[in-house]
């Protein structure tokens, strides 16, 4: 197996005119990692990817492939494979020529090119499509050609810019698992940019969550979801209830927070200030017939395999998600609310 490449970014700043698109990005992406950059549109994630590709030069900071500084290395010398959001297949070339292009640029022999193109087509399950032109293919097929074209050159790093966003929902779901298996099979360090949290959570080894030019948190999908470190991350990934609160008691192992709906206990002792925001996931709430915290059922929405319950107390509302079949209350009933201390996330206000 060939050498694998890690990618390191140090204090990357990128400006467009006066606008600072990236405000000091530091990241370390280990070799073989399936690394996701997740963020809302306009957060700078594509800009960051293009800097890694060499299509933009950063205004400040350093990009390393392994230990080599590549700031001044033009894209065609970086040995990267990139899949663009719009696939960027050349309409004047056949599928075969599209895929063979990078190999030709590397001066492979005809026989080698043929072998590798065949291999990559098999990899993306498009055998027999060599002679077709891109406009004769479906969206999903075009996506695979773009992937094959990027993979065939055996890149050090594979860069994917929202590769699935132009596919319909069903195809997208299939491609997720396929891509994940492919990445693990080939073991290529892969950086994947997306705004789709489901994509990131389900496929990634590690995720960097971005917000307007900065990285908010890096971690495994589980860490990002269960232990968000900022309000933005908690809010952006999955659904969450936020409540303002004051820490009224603390210990080495827990804190007690006073909130508008009552006192909650948390195991999260990392925040030192008194004024805090707490967050808890809707599916982590248990509704009981007794309990200290009482709230009124304001609305119920049935979605099939789950059910959303809106509870209120004074002006405060929280959302609860539970399985559809086990409801024992109705609108305007009063129910008890229980949240495990481990599920209460304490965030700085």
């Amino acid at each position: 197996m060939r050498d694998l490449v890690s990618v390191r970014l140090k204090d990357i700043v990128k400006r467009f005119g006066k606008y600072e698109a990236l405000r000091g990005i530091t990241l370390e992406i280990k070799d073989r990692d399936f690394f996701f950059i997740l963020g809302p549109s306009g957060c700078g994630k594509t800009t960051l990817l293009r800097i890694i590709a060499g299509l933009y030069e950063p205004d400040e900071g350093e990009v390393y492939f392994d230990n080599n500084l590549v700031n001044k290395v033009p894209p065609h010398k970086r040995n990267i494979g990139m899949v663009f959001q719009n696939y960027a297949l050349w309409p004047h070339m056949t599928v075969y020529d599209n895929i063979a292009y990078g190999l030709k640029a590397r001066n492979y022999s005809k026989a080698e090119i043929d072998k590798k193109v065949k291999w990559s087509l098999k990899l993306v399950r498009l055998e027999g499509m060599e002679k077709k032109y891109p406009n004769q293919l479906s969206g999903g097929q075009q996506q695979r050609v773009a992937l094959a074209r990027a993979l065939v050159i055996e890149p050090d790093v594979l860069l994917l810019d929202e590769p699935l966003s132009n596919l319909d929902a069903k195809l997208r779901a299939n491609m997720r698992s396929e891509l994940k298996f492919l990445q693990k099979d080939l073991g290529i360090t892969t950086i994947y940019v997306t705004h789709d949290q489901a994509e990131a959570l389900s496929m990634a080894d590690n995720i960097a969550v971005m917000n307007i030019g900065v990285i908010e948190q890096v971690g495994s999908p589980r860490e990002i979801y269960l232990k968000p470190r900022t309000k933005f991350v908690a809010d952006f990934i999955g659904e969450i209830n936020f409540l303002n609160g004051n820490i009224v008691d603390r210990d080495d192992n827990y804190v007690i927070i006073d909130t508008p709906i009552g006192k909650l206990k948390s195991l999260d002792t990392s925040v030192n200030s008194t004024d805090v925001v707490i967050g808890f996931r809707p599916e982590r709430i248990k509704l009981t017939k007794s309990g200290d915290i009482k709230m009124k059922v304001k609305g119920i929405m049935f979605y099939g395999f789950f059910e959303e319950v809106i509870l209120s107390y004074d002006d405060t509302e929280i959302k609860v998600i539970q399985k559809g079949e086990e409801r024992w209350f109705d609108i305007n009933d009063e129910v008890g609310v229980e949240i495990e201390p481990d599920d209460v996330i304490v965030l700085r206000d």
Binding site: R15, F16, G17, A53, G54, L55, Y56, E57, D59, P74, P75, H76, K77, R78, N79, I80, G81, M82, F84, Q85, N86, A88, W90, P91, H92, Y101, G102, A105, R106, A146, R149, A150, I153, L159
Partner: protein
């Protein structure tokens, strides 16, 4: 952004220097010759120009011709545009093509035939005599010399040649009007001609303004037509005559400056105007264009009028075709004897056969230069990695030839490079002719390519870069193949425009062996006994070449062809 590529910068510098040397420098030279007398600034020559009675009259005549031509051409063009945009009638598609007929032949070539048709003993008078005589309305022959007033003759020919420019610009403007704007006028009870005057017409003014500018400048600076009428008291012919005495007479420079200043004023004014009056149309695309079906009776009237107009516009073409085949044509509507001998003579005669070779050679080389320049300038100004201001500067320079009339450019080249070794038209005009042709048509080429580049998504090039292809190879493998249609359409158009290029041809080609077709036609029409017939045959050949090129070009370009002729 600090992404500056050395390659882009070098190409920018080279193209900029080329365009500076062949576009700005000659203009500066002409200005300097006009205003610097004995080493200091002086308006002396301008003063002399404005006091010289012949020059004064020439300037007056040129303004008169340009003004009347513009008003009448716009009037005709507006009616045609309105009819074609708003009404649906049979054979509309055919008319849309036939209306572009004037583009395939320069007006001065048609003038040869027109002068014959409209002369005292010409076909028109004979035809009228026979018709009106048969109806018993007149006795005896009609012997009007229609073009006795040469100015009116020139204006007539300018209108017949220029109305498509008015029609295309105005039609674009009218079809850009949001139909709901007219509908809201109707709901308020304003209909018919009043609605047209208060809503439609004002909203179509940007097209009218653009067309007026082009037509005014064109008819002011047209050299060929007045030459054919032997009418010398207009500015272009004066400049033409003075090009023979560039050392002795400073008036040529002063007149050229006048033309350049006038052109600039007109174009700047139009630019200002169209920025002020560019109406943002809301909701375009939701409602389809308003096209009315005409009743049968009205269709007949409209078709008749359009047919008469197209027949008139085709008269120059028809007349030179007839003349090119005529063996005997005297006191009859059409020739009484036909022959192919003029065509044989075209290929046998030294002057004509070499002119065809010359024209083909010049045009091919000029097209190659234009393609090359067009590619580099539009690539750099569209996606060169250099500061925006440099890109804008190059773009402006590339489009500038649109605002430099051929007569001014030709005079500039002739005088500026008179003593340059290989650029002097007096020694050998080949190189400077080719440069003049390509520079003049560069905007067409650049526009065509620029439009193509805008449609090529950057990702297509970036993906090739990411796969290890060098930037130059990406241009060759990806960019150029993807804009090939635009390049070839532009090239064919440039080629045909070079073939019918008049002003620079007439002025720069000084020695007979180097004459291109247009100059040969002019020479024949003045010199030989059967010159007109031979000139017509040559004109017809030119017409066919251009027509074929236009068809190819429009096939490749599709709908966008018309846009190239708009301001």
């Amino acid at each position: 952004m600090k992404n500056i590529s050395m390659g882009s910068l070098i190409v920018w510098i080279l193209t900029f220097c080329y365009l500076f040397f062949f576009l700005i420098y000659p203009i500066l030279y002409v200005f300097q010759k006009t205003f610097i007398v004995n080493g200091s600034f002086s308006l002396e020559f301008f003063d002399i120009m404005l006091r010289d009675p012949i020059l004064k009259e020439s300037i007056y005549n040129s303004f008169f011709i340009a003004f009347i031509s513009t008003v009448l051409t716009i009037f005709v063009g507006y009616i045609i545009a309105y009819a074609l945009v708003r009404y649906d009638f049979v054979l509309k598609g055919l008319f849309q093509i036939l209306l572009l007929l004037p583009f395939i032949v320069p007006p001065f070539v048609g003038a040869i035939g027109m002068i014959k048709l409209f002369s005292r003993f010409g076909s028109i008078n004979i035809l009228l005599t026979e018709i009106l005589g048969a109806l018993g309305l007149i006795k005896g022959p009609i012997l009007i010399d229609w073009f006795e007033n040469k100015i009116l003759g020139i204006i007539f020919l300018e209108i017949l040649h220029l109305y498509p420019i008015a029609y295309l610009n105005i039609a674009a403007s009218i079809s850009n009007i949001d139909p709901t704007l007219e509908e809201s006028a109707e709901t308020l009870g304003v209909t018919g001609f009043k609605k047209f005057l208060t809503v439609t017409f004002p909203l179509s003014l940007p097209g009218v303004a653009a067309a007026s500018a082009i037509i005014f400048i064109w008819s002011f600076t047209d050299l060929g037509t007045p030459l054919m009428f032997n009418f010398f008291k207009v500015v272009p012919v004066q400049i033409f005559n003075m090009s023979r005495e560039i050392y002795a007479n400073p008036m040529g420079y002063a007149l050229t400056v006048l033309v350049l200043v006038l052109t600039s004023i007109v174009f700047i004014a139009i630019k200002r105007y169209s920025t002020i009056r560019s109406y943002e149309m809301m909701g375009r695309g939701h409602v389809s264009e308003k096209v009315y079906k005409l009743s049968r009776g009205k269709q007949v009237i409209l078709l008749t009028l359009l047919s008469i107009w197209i027949l008139m516009a085709a008269l120059p073409h028809i007349s030179i075709i007839l003349m090119s085949f005529s063996d005997e044509w005297f006191l009859s509507i059409i020739p009484t004897k036909f022959t192919l001998s003029h065509y044989q003579e075209v290929f046998r005669n030294n002057l004509t056969s070499s002119s065809i070779r010359n024209s083909l050679f010049y045009s091919v080389i000029a097209t190659i230069i234009a393609v090359f320049l067009g590619l580099t300038t539009s690539y750099i100004s569209n996606r060169g990695k250099i500061p925006q201001i440099l890109r804008d500067l190059l773009d402006a320079l590339t489009m500038w030839p649109l605002a430099v009339p051929g007569i001014a450019l030709a005079f500039g080249y002739l005088s500026t490079f008179a003593d340059f070794p290989i650029l002097s038209a007096y020694q050998n005009p080949v190189l400077i002719l080719v440069i003049a042709y390509s520079t003049r048509r560069l905007p067409y080429m650049a526009r065509s390519i620029y439009a193509g580049l805008q449609q090529v998504h950057r990702n297509l090039e970036e993906s090739a870069l990411s796969l290890g292809s060098t930037p130059l190879k990406v241009i060759k493998d990806i960019t150029i193949p993807l804009i090939l249609a635009n390049i070839s359409a532009g090239a064919v158009l440039v080629f045909s425009e070079c073939m019918i290029e008049v002003s620079t041809s007439l002025m720069l080609a000084q020695q007979e062996e180097y004459y291109p077709i247009t100059k040969a036609i002019y020479e024949l029409s003045t010199n030989l006994a059967v010159g007109n017939e031979l000139a017509s045959a040559l004109g017809v050949i030119l017409m066919i070449v251009v027509a074929v090129s236009m068809v190819i070009s429009s096939k490749v370009m599709g709908q966008k062809m018309g846009e190239l002729f708009r301001a």
